[in-house]
Protein backbone atom coordinates (compact mmCIF):
# COMPACT_ATOMS: atom_id res chain seq x y z
CA UNK A 1 0.00 0.00 0.00
CA UNK A 2 1.26 3.45 -0.98
CA UNK A 3 1.61 6.12 1.68
CA UNK A 4 -1.31 8.53 1.81
CA UNK A 5 -2.09 11.82 3.54
CA UNK A 6 -4.67 12.38 6.23
CA UNK A 7 -6.66 14.61 3.82
CA UNK A 8 -6.79 11.70 1.38
CA UNK A 9 -7.97 9.33 4.12
CA UNK A 10 -10.72 11.77 5.17
CA UNK A 11 -11.85 12.24 1.57
CA UNK A 12 -11.97 8.49 0.95
CA UNK A 13 -13.85 7.84 4.22
CA UNK A 14 -16.38 10.54 3.31
CA UNK A 15 -16.80 9.18 -0.22
CA UNK A 16 -17.55 5.68 1.10
CA UNK A 17 -20.52 7.06 3.04
CA UNK A 18 -22.30 8.14 -0.15
CA UNK A 19 -24.65 5.47 -1.51
CA UNK A 20 -25.08 5.11 -5.27
CA UNK A 21 -28.15 6.98 -6.51
CA UNK A 22 -28.37 9.39 -3.59
CA UNK A 23 -29.20 13.04 -4.25
CA UNK A 24 -26.39 15.00 -2.67
CA UNK A 25 -26.03 18.73 -1.93
CA UNK A 26 -22.31 19.42 -2.33
CA UNK A 27 -20.16 22.04 -0.62
CA UNK A 28 -16.85 23.26 -1.98
CA UNK A 29 -13.47 21.81 -0.92
CA UNK A 30 -13.19 18.36 0.67
CA UNK A 31 -16.93 17.55 0.32
CA UNK A 32 -16.72 18.24 -3.41
CA UNK A 33 -13.65 16.01 -3.72
CA UNK A 34 -15.38 13.22 -1.75
CA UNK A 35 -18.59 13.40 -3.80
CA UNK A 36 -16.74 13.25 -7.10
CA UNK A 37 -14.49 10.45 -5.87
CA UNK A 38 -17.62 8.48 -4.95
CA UNK A 39 -19.12 9.21 -8.37
CA UNK A 40 -15.94 8.04 -10.12
CA UNK A 41 -15.72 4.83 -8.05
CA UNK A 42 -18.61 3.02 -6.34
CA UNK A 43 -21.47 5.49 -6.94
CA UNK A 44 -21.70 6.41 -10.66
CA UNK A 45 -25.35 7.43 -10.31
CA UNK A 46 -24.83 9.86 -7.45
CA UNK A 47 -26.78 13.05 -8.24
CA UNK A 48 -24.62 16.06 -7.36
CA UNK A 49 -26.31 19.39 -6.73
CA UNK A 50 -24.12 22.43 -6.09
CA UNK A 51 -25.90 25.37 -4.50
CA UNK A 52 -25.08 27.53 -7.53
CA UNK A 53 -28.03 25.81 -9.21
CA UNK A 54 -26.23 23.07 -11.12
CA UNK A 55 -28.23 19.85 -10.85
CA UNK A 56 -26.83 16.44 -11.78
CA UNK A 57 -23.40 17.81 -12.59
CA UNK A 58 -20.45 15.58 -13.55
CA UNK A 59 -17.33 17.76 -13.50
CA UNK A 60 -14.07 16.31 -14.83
CA UNK A 61 -12.05 18.67 -12.61
CA UNK A 62 -13.00 19.91 -9.15
CA UNK A 63 -14.39 23.43 -9.09
CA UNK A 64 -12.51 26.09 -7.10
CA UNK A 65 -15.72 28.00 -6.53
CA UNK A 66 -19.25 26.74 -6.08
CA UNK A 67 -20.15 28.10 -9.51
CA UNK A 68 -17.27 27.35 -11.89
CA UNK A 69 -18.25 27.01 -15.57
CA UNK A 70 -17.25 23.34 -15.43
CA UNK A 71 -20.24 22.68 -13.13
CA UNK A 72 -22.74 24.37 -15.45
CA UNK A 73 -21.38 22.81 -18.63
CA UNK A 74 -21.54 19.25 -17.25
CA UNK A 75 -24.93 19.62 -15.49
CA UNK A 76 -28.24 18.01 -16.44
CA UNK A 77 -29.89 21.35 -15.72
CA UNK A 78 -28.95 24.77 -14.40
CA UNK A 79 -31.70 26.46 -12.39
CA UNK A 80 -32.17 29.74 -10.51
CA UNK A 81 -31.21 29.88 -6.82
CA UNK A 82 -34.71 30.42 -5.42
CA UNK A 83 -35.66 27.12 -7.07
CA UNK A 84 -32.64 25.29 -5.62
CA UNK A 85 -33.31 26.45 -2.08
CA UNK A 86 -37.11 26.17 -2.07
CA UNK A 87 -38.24 23.57 -4.64
CA UNK A 88 -35.30 21.22 -4.10
CA UNK A 89 -33.96 21.73 -0.58
CA UNK A 90 -36.88 23.11 1.47
CA UNK A 91 -39.35 20.65 -0.02
CA UNK A 92 -37.22 17.71 1.12
CA UNK A 93 -35.89 16.44 -2.22
CA UNK A 94 -32.24 16.13 -1.09
CA UNK A 95 -30.93 12.98 0.61
CA UNK A 96 -27.44 13.94 1.77
CA UNK A 97 -25.84 17.26 2.69
CA UNK A 98 -22.19 17.76 3.32
CA UNK A 99 -20.80 20.53 5.54
CA UNK A 100 -17.76 21.70 7.45
CA UNK A 101 -17.22 24.60 9.83
CA UNK A 102 -14.75 26.41 12.04
CA UNK A 103 -16.21 24.97 15.26
CA UNK A 104 -18.38 21.98 16.15
CA UNK A 105 -19.84 20.91 19.49
CA UNK A 106 -20.70 17.47 20.88
CA UNK A 107 -24.19 17.53 19.34
CA UNK A 108 -22.96 18.35 15.83
CA UNK A 109 -23.96 22.03 15.87
CA UNK A 110 -21.65 24.16 13.71
CA UNK A 111 -20.16 27.64 13.71
CA UNK A 112 -18.98 29.29 10.50
CA UNK A 113 -19.80 32.90 11.46
CA UNK A 114 -17.43 34.39 14.06
CA UNK A 115 -14.76 33.55 16.62
CA UNK A 116 -15.43 35.80 19.61
CA UNK A 117 -18.59 37.84 19.95
CA UNK A 118 -20.82 38.65 17.00
CA UNK A 119 -20.65 42.42 17.48
CA UNK A 120 -16.88 42.59 18.07
CA UNK A 121 -15.46 39.40 16.57
CA UNK A 122 -11.87 38.32 16.97
CA UNK A 123 -12.13 36.54 13.64
CA UNK A 124 -14.88 37.24 11.15
CA UNK A 125 -15.57 33.97 9.25
CA UNK A 126 -17.45 33.79 5.91
CA UNK A 127 -20.87 33.16 7.47
CA UNK A 128 -23.82 30.88 6.82
CA UNK A 129 -24.12 30.47 3.06
CA UNK A 130 -26.41 27.54 2.41
CA UNK A 131 -25.52 25.69 5.62
CA UNK A 132 -28.47 26.41 7.98
CA UNK A 133 -31.10 25.21 5.52
CA UNK A 134 -28.98 22.34 4.18
CA UNK A 135 -28.62 21.01 7.74
CA UNK A 136 -32.30 21.73 8.41
CA UNK A 137 -33.80 19.89 5.44
CA UNK A 138 -31.55 17.06 4.17
CA UNK A 139 -32.39 13.52 5.22
CA UNK A 140 -28.86 13.03 6.51
CA UNK A 141 -25.97 15.37 7.09
CA UNK A 142 -22.30 14.46 6.82
CA UNK A 143 -19.77 16.75 8.48
CA UNK A 144 -16.09 16.81 7.56
CA UNK A 145 -13.67 18.70 9.80
CA UNK A 146 -10.09 18.42 10.97
CA UNK A 147 -10.08 17.76 14.67
CA UNK A 148 -8.37 19.85 17.35
CA UNK A 149 -9.34 21.04 20.82
CA UNK A 150 -9.69 24.52 19.26
CA UNK A 151 -12.27 23.44 16.68
CA UNK A 152 -14.09 20.64 18.56
CA UNK A 153 -15.31 22.81 21.41
CA UNK A 154 -17.35 22.61 24.59
CA UNK A 155 -19.31 25.70 23.54
CA UNK A 156 -19.67 27.33 20.10
CA UNK A 157 -18.98 31.06 19.83
CA UNK A 158 -21.96 31.26 17.44
CA UNK A 159 -24.44 28.64 16.26
CA UNK A 160 -24.69 29.08 12.49
CA UNK A 161 -26.11 25.65 11.80
CA UNK A 162 -28.21 23.31 13.90
CA UNK A 163 -27.16 19.73 14.48
CA UNK A 164 -28.97 18.07 17.40
CA UNK A 165 -29.12 21.36 19.37
CA UNK A 166 -28.97 20.42 23.08
CA UNK A 167 -29.23 16.70 22.31
CA UNK A 168 -31.94 14.12 22.98
CA UNK A 169 -35.11 15.04 21.07
CA UNK A 170 -34.31 18.78 21.01
CA UNK A 171 -33.94 18.79 17.24
CA UNK A 172 -37.33 17.25 16.57
CA UNK A 173 -39.01 19.49 19.17
CA UNK A 174 -37.57 22.58 17.48
CA UNK A 175 -39.32 21.50 14.28
CA UNK A 176 -36.25 20.72 12.18
CA UNK A 177 -37.55 18.34 9.49
CA UNK A 178 -34.30 16.66 8.29
CA UNK A 179 -32.51 13.79 10.01
CA UNK A 180 -29.57 15.75 11.38
CA UNK A 181 -25.90 14.72 11.47
CA UNK A 182 -25.28 11.10 10.51
CA UNK A 183 -21.51 11.15 10.90
CA UNK A 184 -18.59 13.48 11.55
CA UNK A 185 -15.47 12.52 9.62
CA UNK A 186 -12.25 13.89 11.12
CA UNK A 187 -8.56 13.31 10.49
CA UNK A 188 -8.65 10.73 13.32
CA UNK A 189 -11.70 8.73 12.29
CA UNK A 190 -15.48 8.92 12.48
CA UNK A 191 -17.93 10.00 15.16
CA UNK A 192 -21.60 9.08 15.04
CA UNK A 193 -24.43 10.35 17.26
CA UNK A 194 -25.68 8.19 20.13
CA UNK A 195 -29.21 7.07 19.14
CA UNK A 196 -30.75 8.47 22.34
CA UNK A 197 -28.63 11.31 23.71
CA UNK A 198 -27.40 12.34 20.22
CA UNK A 199 -23.95 13.03 21.62
CA UNK A 200 -21.14 12.30 19.16
CA UNK A 201 -19.32 9.06 19.93
CA UNK A 202 -16.01 7.98 18.40
CA UNK A 203 -16.91 4.78 16.59
CA UNK A 204 -14.15 4.32 14.03
CA UNK A 205 -10.49 5.24 13.77
CA UNK A 206 -8.03 5.37 10.89
CA UNK A 207 -4.88 3.30 10.62
CA UNK A 208 -2.02 4.61 12.77
CA UNK A 209 -4.36 6.53 15.12
CA UNK A 210 -5.43 5.66 18.66
CA UNK A 211 -8.66 6.50 20.44
CA UNK A 212 -6.61 8.28 23.12
CA UNK A 213 -5.10 10.59 20.50
CA UNK A 214 -8.58 11.40 19.21
CA UNK A 215 -9.77 12.15 22.76
CA UNK A 216 -6.78 14.43 23.36
CA UNK A 217 -7.65 16.43 20.22
CA UNK A 218 -11.20 17.14 21.36
CA UNK A 219 -12.36 20.09 23.47
CA UNK A 220 -15.01 18.10 25.31
CA UNK A 221 -14.57 14.70 27.03
CA UNK A 222 -15.09 12.58 23.91
CA UNK A 223 -17.05 9.37 24.39
CA UNK A 224 -15.56 6.28 22.76
CA UNK A 225 -17.72 3.36 21.60
CA UNK A 226 -17.36 -0.01 23.34
CA UNK A 227 -15.99 -1.46 20.13
CA UNK A 228 -14.04 0.93 17.93
CA UNK A 229 -13.87 -0.07 14.28
CA UNK A 230 -10.59 0.19 12.42
CA UNK A 231 -11.42 1.99 9.13
CA UNK A 232 -9.73 0.42 6.12
CA UNK A 233 -7.04 2.56 4.47
CA UNK A 234 -7.65 3.80 0.91
CA UNK A 235 -7.54 1.14 -1.78
CA UNK A 236 -5.22 1.63 -4.72
CA UNK A 237 -8.22 2.46 -6.92
CA UNK A 238 -9.58 5.05 -4.49
CA UNK A 239 -6.18 6.68 -4.08
CA UNK A 240 -5.32 6.69 -7.78
CA UNK A 241 -8.74 8.06 -8.78
CA UNK A 242 -8.51 10.82 -6.17
CA UNK A 243 -4.95 11.76 -7.14
CA UNK A 244 -5.78 11.87 -10.85
CA UNK A 245 -8.74 14.11 -10.06
CA UNK A 246 -6.60 16.43 -7.91
CA UNK A 247 -3.89 16.54 -10.57
CA UNK A 248 -6.36 17.51 -13.33
CA UNK A 249 -7.77 20.11 -10.96
CA UNK A 250 -4.39 21.68 -10.15
CA UNK A 251 -3.53 22.01 -13.83
CA UNK A 252 -6.93 23.57 -14.61
CA UNK A 253 -6.81 26.08 -11.74
CA UNK A 254 -3.30 27.27 -12.63
CA UNK A 255 -4.38 28.12 -16.19
CA UNK A 256 -4.62 31.89 -16.70
CA UNK A 257 -7.60 33.18 -18.61
CA UNK A 258 -7.17 35.18 -21.81
CA UNK A 259 -9.97 37.36 -23.11
CA UNK A 260 -10.21 38.42 -26.74
CA UNK A 261 -11.35 42.02 -26.95
CA UNK A 262 -13.11 43.24 -30.10
CA UNK A 263 -10.90 45.48 -32.20
Amino acid sequence: MTAYTSDEMMTVAAARRLPNGAVCFVGIGLPSAACNLARLTHAPDLVLIYESGTVGTRPSVLPLSIGDGELAETARSVIPLPEIFTHYLQSGRVDVGFLGGAQIDRFGNLNSTVIGSYDAPKVRLPGAGGAPEIAMHVKELLIVMKQSARTFVERLDFRTTAGFLEGGDARARAGLPGGGPRAVITDFGEMTPDPVTRELVLGGIFDGVTADEARAACGWPLRVAGTVTRIAPPTNTELQTLRDLQERTRAAHARRVRITLPT
Binding site: I28, G29, E51, S52, G53, P63, L64, S65, I66, G67, D68, G69, L71, A72, E73, V78, P80, L81, P82, F85, T86, L89, Q90, N109, T113, Y118, P121, K122, V123, R124, P126, G127, A128, G129, G130, A131, P132, E133, M136, F158, R159, T160, A162, L165, R171, A174, G175, L176, P177, A252, H253, A254, R255, R256, V257, R258, I259, T260, L261, P262
Partner: protein, 285 residues
Protein backbone atom coordinates in the same frame (compact mmCIF):
# COMPACT_ATOMS: atom_id res chain seq x y z
CA UNK B 1 -42.77 51.25 -23.28
CA UNK B 2 -39.29 52.46 -24.07
CA UNK B 3 -36.05 50.56 -24.04
CA UNK B 4 -32.81 51.35 -22.26
CA UNK B 5 -30.29 54.07 -22.97
CA UNK B 6 -27.13 52.67 -24.55
CA UNK B 7 -24.35 54.53 -22.75
CA UNK B 8 -20.71 54.22 -21.71
CA UNK B 9 -19.87 52.46 -18.46
CA UNK B 10 -18.88 55.70 -16.66
CA UNK B 11 -22.17 57.29 -17.81
CA UNK B 12 -24.22 54.28 -16.73
CA UNK B 13 -22.76 54.39 -13.22
CA UNK B 14 -22.80 58.17 -12.76
CA UNK B 15 -26.36 58.40 -14.04
CA UNK B 16 -27.80 55.78 -11.66
CA UNK B 17 -25.51 55.14 -8.66
CA UNK B 18 -25.35 57.93 -6.06
CA UNK B 19 -23.89 58.19 -2.56
CA UNK B 20 -26.06 56.60 0.12
CA UNK B 21 -27.99 54.30 -2.24
CA UNK B 22 -28.74 50.61 -1.77
CA UNK B 23 -27.03 48.85 -4.65
CA UNK B 24 -26.98 45.15 -5.61
CA UNK B 25 -24.30 43.90 -8.02
CA UNK B 26 -25.54 40.34 -8.41
CA UNK B 27 -24.29 37.20 -10.17
CA UNK B 28 -23.58 34.03 -8.21
CA UNK B 29 -19.87 33.31 -8.91
CA UNK B 30 -20.76 33.71 -12.61
CA UNK B 31 -21.40 37.05 -14.39
CA UNK B 32 -20.24 39.21 -11.47
CA UNK B 33 -20.23 42.83 -12.70
CA UNK B 34 -16.59 43.61 -11.86
CA UNK B 35 -16.22 46.40 -14.42
CA UNK B 36 -19.25 48.21 -12.98
CA UNK B 37 -17.89 47.82 -9.44
CA UNK B 38 -14.53 49.23 -10.52
CA UNK B 39 -16.24 52.21 -12.11
CA UNK B 40 -18.18 52.86 -8.87
CA UNK B 41 -14.81 52.85 -7.06
CA UNK B 42 -13.33 55.28 -9.64
CA UNK B 43 -16.28 57.60 -9.12
CA UNK B 44 -15.54 57.46 -5.37
CA UNK B 45 -19.09 56.65 -4.27
CA UNK B 46 -19.60 56.64 -0.49
CA UNK B 47 -22.05 55.29 2.12
CA UNK B 48 -23.49 52.66 -0.17
CA UNK B 49 -25.50 49.78 1.24
CA UNK B 50 -24.05 46.92 -0.78
CA UNK B 51 -26.26 43.88 -1.36
CA UNK B 52 -24.94 40.54 -2.67
CA UNK B 53 -25.37 36.94 -1.59
CA UNK B 54 -21.62 36.40 -1.89
CA UNK B 55 -19.67 39.66 -1.59
CA UNK B 56 -16.79 38.04 -3.53
CA UNK B 57 -13.69 39.96 -4.60
CA UNK B 58 -15.68 42.88 -6.05
CA UNK B 59 -17.20 43.87 -2.69
CA UNK B 60 -13.90 43.14 -0.93
CA UNK B 61 -12.48 45.82 -3.24
CA UNK B 62 -15.38 48.26 -2.81
CA UNK B 63 -15.38 47.85 0.99
CA UNK B 64 -11.60 48.25 1.17
CA UNK B 65 -11.83 51.42 -0.93
CA UNK B 66 -14.36 52.90 1.48
CA UNK B 67 -17.47 52.85 -0.76
CA UNK B 68 -19.74 51.02 1.70
CA UNK B 69 -21.28 51.69 5.10
CA UNK B 70 -23.45 48.56 5.18
CA UNK B 71 -23.37 45.06 3.73
CA UNK B 72 -26.39 42.80 3.15
CA UNK B 73 -25.09 39.28 2.46
CA UNK B 74 -25.10 35.57 3.18
CA UNK B 75 -21.56 34.23 2.58
CA UNK B 76 -18.47 36.44 2.68
CA UNK B 77 -15.46 34.37 1.69
CA UNK B 78 -13.11 34.03 -1.28
CA UNK B 79 -14.65 30.83 -2.73
CA UNK B 80 -12.33 27.85 -2.39
CA UNK B 81 -9.50 30.12 -1.18
CA UNK B 82 -10.31 31.57 2.25
CA UNK B 83 -11.08 34.97 3.73
CA UNK B 84 -12.07 38.22 2.12
CA UNK B 85 -9.40 40.18 3.97
CA UNK B 86 -10.81 43.66 3.30
CA UNK B 87 -14.27 42.60 4.49
CA UNK B 88 -12.70 41.08 7.61
CA UNK B 89 -10.64 44.20 8.29
CA UNK B 90 -13.77 46.36 8.04
CA UNK B 91 -15.72 44.16 10.46
CA UNK B 92 -12.86 43.36 12.86
CA UNK B 93 -11.07 46.75 12.87
CA UNK B 94 -13.49 49.21 11.22
CA UNK B 95 -10.93 49.86 8.47
CA UNK B 96 -11.22 51.99 6.42
CA UNK B 97 -14.61 52.69 8.05
CA UNK B 98 -17.21 50.83 10.09
CA UNK B 99 -19.39 48.39 8.19
CA UNK B 100 -22.87 47.50 9.45
CA UNK B 101 -24.01 43.96 8.62
CA UNK B 102 -27.45 42.65 7.65
CA UNK B 103 -26.59 38.97 7.57
CA UNK B 104 -28.63 36.03 6.30
CA UNK B 105 -28.35 32.55 4.83
CA UNK B 106 -28.46 31.96 1.06
CA UNK B 107 -32.02 30.64 1.36
CA UNK B 108 -32.96 33.80 3.26
CA UNK B 109 -31.39 36.12 0.68
CA UNK B 110 -33.18 34.49 -2.26
CA UNK B 111 -36.49 34.68 -0.42
CA UNK B 112 -35.87 38.39 0.27
CA UNK B 113 -35.08 39.10 -3.39
CA UNK B 114 -38.11 37.08 -4.54
CA UNK B 115 -40.37 39.07 -2.20
CA UNK B 116 -38.95 42.31 -3.57
CA UNK B 117 -39.47 41.13 -7.14
CA UNK B 118 -43.06 40.15 -6.29
CA UNK B 119 -44.06 43.45 -4.71
CA UNK B 120 -44.56 41.78 -1.32
CA UNK B 121 -43.40 43.39 1.94
CA UNK B 122 -41.82 40.16 3.19
CA UNK B 123 -40.90 36.64 2.15
CA UNK B 124 -41.45 33.37 3.99
CA UNK B 125 -39.28 30.30 4.43
CA UNK B 126 -38.57 27.31 6.62
CA UNK B 127 -35.14 28.36 7.73
CA UNK B 128 -32.81 29.66 10.47
CA UNK B 129 -34.33 27.26 13.04
CA UNK B 130 -32.03 26.47 15.95
CA UNK B 131 -29.40 29.02 14.88
CA UNK B 132 -28.15 32.30 16.41
CA UNK B 133 -28.78 34.23 13.18
CA UNK B 134 -32.15 35.61 14.27
CA UNK B 135 -30.74 36.82 17.60
CA UNK B 136 -27.82 38.51 15.81
CA UNK B 137 -30.09 40.25 13.29
CA UNK B 138 -33.31 40.84 15.26
CA UNK B 139 -34.77 43.64 13.19
CA UNK B 140 -34.54 41.64 9.96
CA UNK B 141 -35.57 38.09 10.96
CA UNK B 142 -38.99 37.37 12.51
CA UNK B 143 -41.11 34.32 13.25
CA UNK B 144 -44.72 34.17 12.05
CA UNK B 145 -47.47 31.57 12.31
CA UNK B 146 -49.05 30.11 9.19
CA UNK B 147 -52.75 31.13 9.30
CA UNK B 148 -53.79 27.82 7.71
CA UNK B 149 -51.65 25.18 9.41
CA UNK B 150 -50.39 26.92 12.54
CA UNK B 151 -46.82 26.09 11.55
CA UNK B 152 -44.04 28.45 12.70
CA UNK B 153 -42.29 30.05 9.73
CA UNK B 154 -39.63 32.70 9.26
CA UNK B 155 -40.46 36.07 7.70
CA UNK B 156 -37.80 38.28 6.14
CA UNK B 157 -38.27 41.80 4.77
CA UNK B 158 -38.26 42.22 0.99
CA UNK B 159 -35.07 43.44 -0.65
CA UNK B 160 -35.72 46.35 -2.99
CA UNK B 161 -32.37 47.82 -4.10
CA UNK B 162 -32.37 51.34 -5.51
CA UNK B 163 -30.21 49.94 -8.28
CA UNK B 164 -29.39 46.42 -9.38
CA UNK B 165 -26.42 46.00 -11.70
CA UNK B 166 -26.03 42.80 -13.72
CA UNK B 167 -23.52 41.59 -16.29
CA UNK B 168 -24.92 39.50 -19.16
CA UNK B 169 -23.66 37.84 -22.31
CA UNK B 170 -25.84 39.62 -24.84
CA UNK B 171 -28.31 42.40 -25.51
CA UNK B 172 -30.06 43.03 -28.78
CA UNK B 173 -30.44 46.45 -30.35
CA UNK B 174 -33.77 47.06 -28.62
CA UNK B 175 -32.12 46.36 -25.26
CA UNK B 176 -33.52 42.92 -24.45
CA UNK B 177 -30.90 41.13 -22.32
CA UNK B 178 -29.95 37.45 -22.31
CA UNK B 179 -28.22 35.63 -19.40
CA UNK B 180 -27.00 32.04 -19.91
CA UNK B 181 -25.47 29.57 -17.46
CA UNK B 182 -25.54 29.95 -13.69
CA UNK B 183 -28.06 32.75 -13.11
CA UNK B 184 -28.06 32.77 -9.30
CA UNK B 185 -30.60 35.26 -8.01
CA UNK B 186 -30.16 37.63 -10.98
CA UNK B 187 -33.76 37.38 -12.16
CA UNK B 188 -35.13 38.24 -8.71
CA UNK B 189 -32.53 40.96 -8.03
CA UNK B 190 -33.31 42.53 -11.42
CA UNK B 191 -37.03 42.70 -10.78
CA UNK B 192 -36.71 43.70 -7.13
CA UNK B 193 -34.79 46.84 -8.07
CA UNK B 194 -36.20 50.30 -8.76
CA UNK B 195 -33.59 50.70 -11.50
CA UNK B 196 -31.83 47.99 -13.47
CA UNK B 197 -28.50 48.68 -15.16
CA UNK B 198 -26.80 46.03 -17.29
CA UNK B 199 -23.33 45.61 -18.74
CA UNK B 200 -23.03 43.13 -21.61
CA UNK B 201 -20.30 41.30 -23.48
CA UNK B 202 -21.81 42.19 -26.86
CA UNK B 203 -24.75 43.65 -28.75
CA UNK B 204 -26.22 41.29 -31.32
CA UNK B 205 -28.87 41.54 -34.03
CA UNK B 206 -30.76 38.56 -32.63
CA UNK B 207 -30.38 36.97 -29.17
CA UNK B 208 -29.19 33.38 -29.09
CA UNK B 209 -32.17 32.51 -26.89
CA UNK B 210 -34.36 29.39 -26.91
CA UNK B 211 -38.02 29.91 -25.98
CA UNK B 212 -37.64 29.54 -22.19
CA UNK B 213 -34.35 31.37 -21.92
CA UNK B 214 -33.76 34.00 -19.23
CA UNK B 215 -34.37 37.19 -21.20
CA UNK B 216 -34.99 40.48 -19.42
CA UNK B 217 -37.31 42.58 -21.57
CA UNK B 218 -35.91 45.89 -22.80
CA UNK B 219 -38.55 47.97 -21.03
CA UNK B 220 -37.28 46.77 -17.63
CA UNK B 221 -33.73 47.97 -18.31
CA UNK B 222 -32.73 51.59 -17.63
CA UNK B 223 -29.24 51.62 -19.18
CA UNK B 224 -26.94 49.24 -20.99
CA UNK B 225 -23.19 49.59 -21.37
CA UNK B 226 -21.15 47.30 -23.62
CA UNK B 227 -18.16 46.07 -21.61
CA UNK B 228 -16.36 43.06 -23.07
CA UNK B 229 -14.70 41.08 -20.28
CA UNK B 230 -16.89 42.98 -17.79
CA UNK B 231 -17.24 40.00 -15.45
CA UNK B 232 -13.49 39.24 -15.27
CA UNK B 233 -12.00 37.73 -13.04
CA UNK B 234 -15.35 35.96 -12.65
CA UNK B 235 -16.63 34.67 -15.95
CA UNK B 236 -19.17 34.83 -18.73
CA UNK B 237 -20.09 31.35 -19.95
CA UNK B 238 -19.40 31.05 -23.67
CA UNK B 239 -17.00 34.02 -23.63
CA UNK B 240 -14.25 33.35 -21.06
CA UNK B 241 -13.64 31.15 -18.02
CA UNK B 242 -13.32 32.13 -14.37
CA UNK B 243 -9.73 33.12 -13.66
CA UNK B 244 -9.22 30.85 -10.68
CA UNK B 245 -5.51 31.76 -10.63
CA UNK B 246 -6.50 35.38 -10.03
CA UNK B 247 -8.82 34.42 -7.16
CA UNK B 248 -5.91 32.49 -5.61
CA UNK B 249 -3.54 35.45 -6.12
CA UNK B 250 -6.04 37.90 -4.56
CA UNK B 251 -5.49 36.35 -1.13
CA UNK B 252 -1.99 37.86 -0.91
CA UNK B 253 -2.88 41.17 -2.53
CA UNK B 254 -5.77 41.83 -0.15
CA UNK B 255 -4.12 40.57 3.04
CA UNK B 256 -2.08 43.72 3.59
CA UNK B 257 -3.66 47.21 3.66
CA UNK B 258 -0.87 49.03 1.86
CA UNK B 259 -0.38 46.37 -0.79
CA UNK B 260 -4.14 46.42 -1.41
CA UNK B 261 -4.25 50.23 -1.70
CA UNK B 262 -1.31 50.21 -4.08
CA UNK B 263 -2.86 47.49 -6.23
CA UNK B 264 -6.20 49.30 -6.39
CA UNK B 265 -4.51 52.61 -7.26
CA UNK B 266 -2.51 51.08 -10.09
CA UNK B 267 -5.15 48.76 -11.51
CA UNK B 268 -8.43 50.59 -10.89
CA UNK B 269 -8.05 54.26 -9.94
CA UNK B 270 -5.33 54.96 -12.50
CA UNK B 271 -6.99 53.08 -15.36
CA UNK B 272 -9.88 54.71 -17.13
CA UNK B 273 -11.49 51.77 -18.93
CA UNK B 274 -12.06 48.10 -18.24
CA UNK B 275 -10.05 47.19 -21.34
CA UNK B 276 -7.08 49.03 -19.86
CA UNK B 277 -7.55 47.14 -16.58
CA UNK B 278 -7.69 43.81 -18.44
CA UNK B 279 -4.47 44.59 -20.34
CA UNK B 280 -2.71 45.61 -17.13
CA UNK B 281 -3.56 42.36 -15.31
CA UNK B 282 -2.53 40.36 -18.38
CA UNK B 283 -6.00 39.01 -19.13
CA UNK B 284 -6.11 40.06 -22.78
CA UNK B 285 -5.15 37.59 -25.48
Amino acid sequence: MTGPAFVSLPDAMSRHVRDGMTVALEGFTHLIPFAAGHEIIRQRRRDLTLVRMTPDLIYDQMIGMGCASKLVFSWGGNPGVGSLHRLRDAVEHQWPRPLALDEHSHAGMVVRYAAGASGLPFGVLKGYTGTDLAAANKSQIATITCPFTGEALVALPALTPDVTVLHAQQADREGNVLLRGIVGACREAAQAARTLVVTVEEIVGRLDAPMNAFVIPAWQVASIAVVPGGAYPSYALGHYARDNAFYLAWDDIARDRSRFMEWMATHVLETSTHAEFLRLVGAVA
